[in-house]
């Protein structure tokens, strides 16, 4: 197992988890600010406990499955997950759909009657994605580096949250999702190929080639979207396309 592969796993898990932690922390911050930190932290703690139990239950079971089958299943799931992110990030970058607005989430949460369950749900749902990312990116005996990447991301986001205690609207979420979508898609294709017995040129280094290839494809896709999307005035009365 090369350091390049371990490093790529850490970076992939770090970036992918960072997005989820940012989303969860935004809601926990809103709950804590409006309803008090006690209920927010109890809810978040309960979510973390639930996820820990889930990870301990699922992780060892995954390691007993034959590697090829595991790579196939995880690869396909990772593709579905990563391509979904990448597609959305491309459509956002191309101006087809609105950018995800963390500030809007914060305003909504502060206006609502928020309970401990809100914090629990946010941490559980976003955390489930982190668990999946860790299991997926660390499935080839690299759970520890993947968990390290996720833990670093979580620590970074918690520290940032403690430091600023403000909505995380300034985090360029779409750029993050763009990169994460590329990484997850590249890993997904690599694992599906491995699981089906395709010999990758350069073995694990092929992942870097796939990352470069999907980055170029995604940038091309943004240009295609900008060209294909109808102009903003197209739906207005009295105007012609």
């Amino acid at each position: 197992m090369s350091w390049a592969h371990v490093g790529t796993v850490i970076v992939a898990a770090f970036l992918a988890s960072l997005v989820e932690f940012v989303e969860a922390l935004t809601i926990v911050l809103a709950v804590g600010t409006t309803r008090g930190w006690r209920s927010a932290l109890i809810g978040a703690g309960a979510g973390v406990l639930f996820l820990t139990v889930l990870t301990l239950a699922v992780g060892p079971a995954l390691q007993r499955i034959p590697l090829g089958s595991l790579q196939l299943v995880v690869g396909v799931l990772l593709l579905l997950f990563g391509m979904r992110w990448l597609r959305k990030a491309i459509l956002r970058a191309g101006g087809v759909i609105a950018l995800h607005d963390e500030a809007a989430i914060y305003a909504k949460q502060t206006a609502d009657r928020i309970s401990l369950l809100t914090s629990f749900k946010a941490v559980t749902l976003e955390g489930l994605e982190v668990v999946f990312i860790v299991i997926a990116t660390g499935a080839r005996g690299l759970l520890a580096p993947a968990a390290l990447g996720a833990a670093l991301a979580g620590s970074l986001v918690v520290l940032a949250g403690l430091g600023v205690r403000r909505p995380l609207a300034r985090v360029p979420e779409n750029a993050l999702k763009f990169g994460v979508g590329v990484l997850l898609t590249a890993f997904g294709v690599f694992w599906v190929g491995e699981g089906l017995g395709y010999p990758w040129p350069g073995k694990d280094l092929a992942i870097l080639g796939l990352v470069a290839g999907f980055s170029a494809t995604a940038l091309l896709a943004v240009a295609v979207v900008r060209r294909s999307a109808p102009p903003a005035w197209a739906g207005q009365p009295g105007r012609r396309r």
């Binding site: 593709l79 597609r87 190929g193 395709y198 092929a206 796939l210 295609v224 979207v225």
Partner: protein, 78 residues
């Protein structure tokens, strides 16, 4: 377990399954494209004798085409 408790449990289960489904499936045509891509990778390419070093490049190119076509169609639908 009372009826309301059962209903709450079913609702919670449906919500959880919906959330899980939403993690992977957002655009049905993209999901279908990925599954067709997988079928080609699993059956068609090996049948054509392409399960070799060229196969990886074909896998990438096919999936890149799926992505490009999907976002182009999505942009036109908006």
């Amino acid at each position: 377990m009372g009826r309301s408790a059962r209903e709450a449990a079913v609702t919670a289960l449906v919500t959880a399954l919906g959330s899980l489904w939403g993690l992977f499936v957002e655009d049905a045509s993209l999901t279908l494209g990925i599954l067709v891509w997988f079928a080609i990778a699993a059956f068609a390419l090996p049948a054509l004798g392409l399960r070799d070093a060229r196969g990886g490049a074909v896998l990438f190119l096919l999936l890149a085409l799926v992505l490009l076509e999907n976002v182009r169609r999505s942009a036109e639908r908006q």
